[in-house]
């Protein structure tokens, strides 16, 4: 049976591990030069920082993931540095482009998509200036190369990643100058009971907060970034506090990221039906709890299907592999699947509470000033989109070119939908979602 696993983050690693245990030798494709995924991003060769410094409390899990990748590589058809840029559900083919630019067609009988997530952007005026980056991207810079994005850095976002990055920067000796948490205290407190579904996770959040306070780093709850100022690069951030007062803080680096957004393009090309998730405020590919989709041979796991974090990703990866094994007619242990379902259920409760505590600041996105460069690839402003009579996002794209550029709307999509929905006076799900097109990321002409 030809099985392909796309992605070598926590979900992909555990999926491959389980497949190998069942005697299957999958093709394992990863866009980065190495495994680990975004959470457990490795420094490039030549950089030596120990795991503890890089991954903090997750060091042991990071190490385990890296060790598993190292062990599995020889047991599978390992293809790092390779982008899957197209999926054809009919003939069951993937198209890839390798590190040297060569393209290939990879057949599959079953494919597990573990494509992970990316930062969920919130465009504000000035966000395209040098010095401004995504929260996740700032974290990767730190993990991969020990780089802080500036000397006076503002972090704008919500939820655990914001706190974690603030803490990581502080530990690395570069505490952020400003931390803006969009969620207000009220929101966070109301969700607190739900957060108890994962006491360890919830406590860790409190611990980061306390530690940051000790180091003199203050977190402004209910605060939102308004505009990045600066002639050639970021020089100051204009922001608004919970009471509505505006402030201007001089910074030379700004990281913005309001949670994560699944990379669902391959699932979309596969023809997996999508449903609107009101909690995450995103269109997500539909799957059962084992990761099976309505499309024969296509399985989903990890943040690429729905944001759940690395622990959920590992469980979901294992579960999807078990589904593949089961569907191929081999026995699986019902106790193992039951145990995974129970843990996934618990994590889902925690996740739902987190989403309630730290929601995407949709109203702020919807109200962005007309001059905001909503689509940075094609230089389309929020005003351009509002000026159309487009009833839904694909029409908005057709009229203005928003989302037609290099990122194919992966960056501006969610914020663009908020802007259009507000302009049309309808719910965000009623303006639909951008249809995926191949290649999901740029392919070299040769």
């Amino acid at each position: 049976m030809s099985v392909v696993v796309v992605g070598a983050g926590p979900a992909g690693v555990r999926a491959v591990e389980r497949l190998v245990e069942a005697g299957i030798r999958p093709v394992w494709i990863e866009e980065s030069p190495d495994g680990g995924g975004r959470v457990f991003q490795k420094p490039p060769p030549g950089f030596s920082r120990d795991a503890k410094a890089l991954y903090g409390a997750d060091a042991a899990r990071a190490q385990a993931i890296h060790d598993t990748v190292a062990r599995l590589r020889a047991q599978v058809d390992w293809r790092p540095g390779t982008l899957v840029w197209n999926l054809r559900p009919g003939p069951r083919l993937l198209n890839t482009q390798g590190p040297d630019g060569t393209t290939q067609e990879v057949p599959y009988e079953r494919v597990i998509l573990c494509t992970g997530a990316m930062d969920r952007a919130l465009p504000i005026p000035g966000w395209t200036k040098p010095g401004v980056t995504g929260l996740g991207a700032a974290q990767i810079a730190l993990k991969a190369q020990g780089l802080a994005i500036g000397r006076r850095v503002a972090l704008c976002g919500t939820g655990p990643l914001l706190l974690l990055l603030a803490w990581q920067l502080t530990k690395a000796g570069a505490p952020p100058a400003l931390v803006l948490e969009s969620a207000g205290w009220g929101q966070t407190l109301r969700a607190a009971p739900g957060l108890a579904w994962n006491p360890v996770g919830a406590l860790r959040g409190l611990a980061w907060r306390a530690a940051l306070r000790r180091k003199g780093v203050r977190i402004h709850a209910g605060a939102l970034p308004l505009r990045v100022e600066g002639a050639d690069s970021a020089q100051a951030l204009l922001w608004r506090d919970a009471k509505g007062a505006e402030h201007r803080t001089e910074v030379d680096g700004v990281a913005i990221g309001y949670g994560l957004k699944p990379e669902t393009q391959l699932a979309d090309l596969a023809g997996v039906p999508f449903a609107f998730d009101t909690l995450q405020r995103l269109w997500l590919p539909e799957r059962d709890r084992a990761g099976r989709t309505a499309v024969p041979g296509v399985y989903l796991a990890g943040d690429g299907a729905s944001i759940g974090g690395s622990v959920v990703a590992e469980l979901a990866g294992t579960r999807a592999a078990l589904a593949v094994i089961e569907d191929a007619g081999q026995p699986v242990d019902p106790l193992e699947t039951d145990m995974i379902h129970r843990r996934l259920w618990l994590e889902a409760r925690f996740r739902a509470a987190l989403e309630r505590a730290f929601p995407y600041p949709a109203a702020h996105a919807a109200a962005m000033p007309d001059e905001t460069l909503l689509c940075r690839c094609e230089a389309i402003t929020a005003g351009d989109l509002r000026a159309t009579d487009a009833p839904e996002v694909n029409r908005g794209k057709a009229f203005t070119r928003i989302g037609m550029g290099r990122c194919q709307g992966r960056v501006c999509g969610p914020a663009g939908a908020e802007v259009l929905a507000a302009a049309r006076g309808c719910a965000v799900q009623d303006v639909g979602r951008l249809r995926g097109q191949m290649p999901v990321k740029p392919v070299v002409m040769a």
């Binding site: 198209n95 609107f276 998730d277 002409m445």
Partner: protein, 399 residues
């Protein structure tokens, strides 16, 4: 989870049950592509009560996703008068549309890559001169001097300076806005489900009646014709398209080749849009998809004529569904089986440019009973003739 699937965002709630009170009009139009909306506009301007029924969104099919070529060059002689008539409308397209549709008369340069192709260019130019179309032949030296970005494989080119391009995503919706302003009723999300003689048409739970019915349903025009006992050999034609990231601006003309295996243009933002080969489709859904292999072939052909494209990044690929006829000529004219039924479909991959004139001509056929553009070659009955389809001496089937 609440809403299911993105189709929900596009589907307007239907009226639920059937609405038994029919809506009457002078003319009913099936299909809101370039041909249909232009017909609606021209009819409404002359005071006709028009209702246009579109299954999806106006310009959502071929008319909204094409290459945007506005070209007379390379057309079959039978289509040249129609193209010339349309080109005249393009000169005032901003006025006709009420907004900018990015029409740029930048010239269409058709390349020869060997002596035989050069002879083909000369032969076509000679023929087109008879219709009053002026072309300029560029030999090896001239083309090198004027277009230094072409590779060695290019040996000559023929320029039709008044050809150009426009933004296909804007044209049909803009014409539709003008048609509505002129009093036409254009209904989106109205798929025509049944048609009875008379004509009584059912769409989205509502009945519509009119003595005249225009079939401008693109590829699906074949289905409409078949309902009236006039089946035609129409195929789903899916030109494979690609676009690069923005590149430094170098090419101001639209580029084609004899043989039609690749064509490209660069938009002012720098992206190069190129086409060649075919994608795939399921017109019943309707859905279409580009295919990787023809995409790579088109890339190689493009690099052969413009070597600097090597290494550029492709950011998107797409295709669409047009009605392709065996002789690459549209079906246009009155039905032979059903009085009041007027066809205009099957534009075979080059009907974007023709849309404005097609609508005007349809309005003349309806209101004046005549038009000055010869339509015999487009007669729907041509596929029944003994000798069948004419030999493709002008190689337009390849374009």
């Amino acid at each position: 989870m609440s809403a299911r699937d993105d189709r929900r965002a596009q589907a307007k709630p239907s009226t639920g049950g059937l609405n038994r009170v029919p809506i009457t009009a002078d003319v009913l139009i099936i299909g809101g592509g370039g041909a249909g909306v232009s017909a609606a506009l021209h009819l409404a301007k002359r005071g006709t009560r028009v209702v246009l029924l579109e299954r999806g969104l106006i310009g959502g099919q071929a008319s909204g996703v094409n290459h945007g070529g506005v070209r007379q060059q390379g057309r079959h002689p039978a289509e040249i008068p129609l193209a010339i008539r349309s080109r005249r409308l393009w000169s005032n397209i901003q006025e006709l549309c009420g907004s900018d549709v990015e029409f740029d008369p930048c010239g269409h340069l058709k390349l020869a890559r060997n002596a035989e192709q050069e002879a083909d260019l000369l032969r076509w130019n000679e023929m087109a001169k008879g219709y009053g179309l002026e072309t300029t032949m560029l030999g090896r030296n001239a083309i090198r001097a004027q277009h230094p970005y072409f590779g060695e494989s290019v040996i000559a080119g023929s320029l039709l300076a008044e050809d150009g391009s426009a933004n296909p995503r804007l044209l049909a919706p803009a014409l539709a806005r003008m048609a509505r302003a002129a009093g036409a009723t254009l209904l989106e999300h109205h798929k025509v489900e049944s048609i009875e003689p008379g004509f009584r048409v059912l769409a989205n739970g509502q009945e519509f009646t009119a003595p005249i019915l225009l079939n401008t349903a693109g590829f699906w025009g074949g289905e409409v014709a078949a309902r009236f006992g006039e089946p035609v050999p129409v195929e789903s034609l899916n030109p494979n398209m690609l676009v690069t990231e923005p590149l430094p601006y170098f090419c101001s003309v639209n580029v084609g080749v004899v043989g039609g295996d690749v064509y490209l243009r660069q938009i002012p933002r720098g992206n190069v849009i190129l086409g060649g080969g075919r994608g795939e489709s399921d017109p019943a859904l309707p859905r279409s998809r580009p295919l990787p292999d023809p995409g790579f072939l088109a890339m190689r052909k493009a690099i052969e004529i413009i070597p600097r494209l090597e290494g550029a990044l492709i950011i998107r690929s797409w295709t669409g569904i047009d009605g392709g006829m065996p002789d690459a000529l549209p079906v246009m004219g009155w039905s032979h089986t059903t009085p009041g039924l007027l066809h205009a479909f099957g534009f075979s991959g080059h009907g974007f440019m023709l849309g404005p004139a097609v609508g005007e001509i349809l309005s003349e056929l309806v209101l004046d009973g005549r038009t000055d553009v010869p339509l015999e070659a487009f007669d729907i009955a041509r596929f029944n003739r003994q000798d069948g389809v004419e030999p493709d001496v002008w190689k337009t089937r390849l374009e």
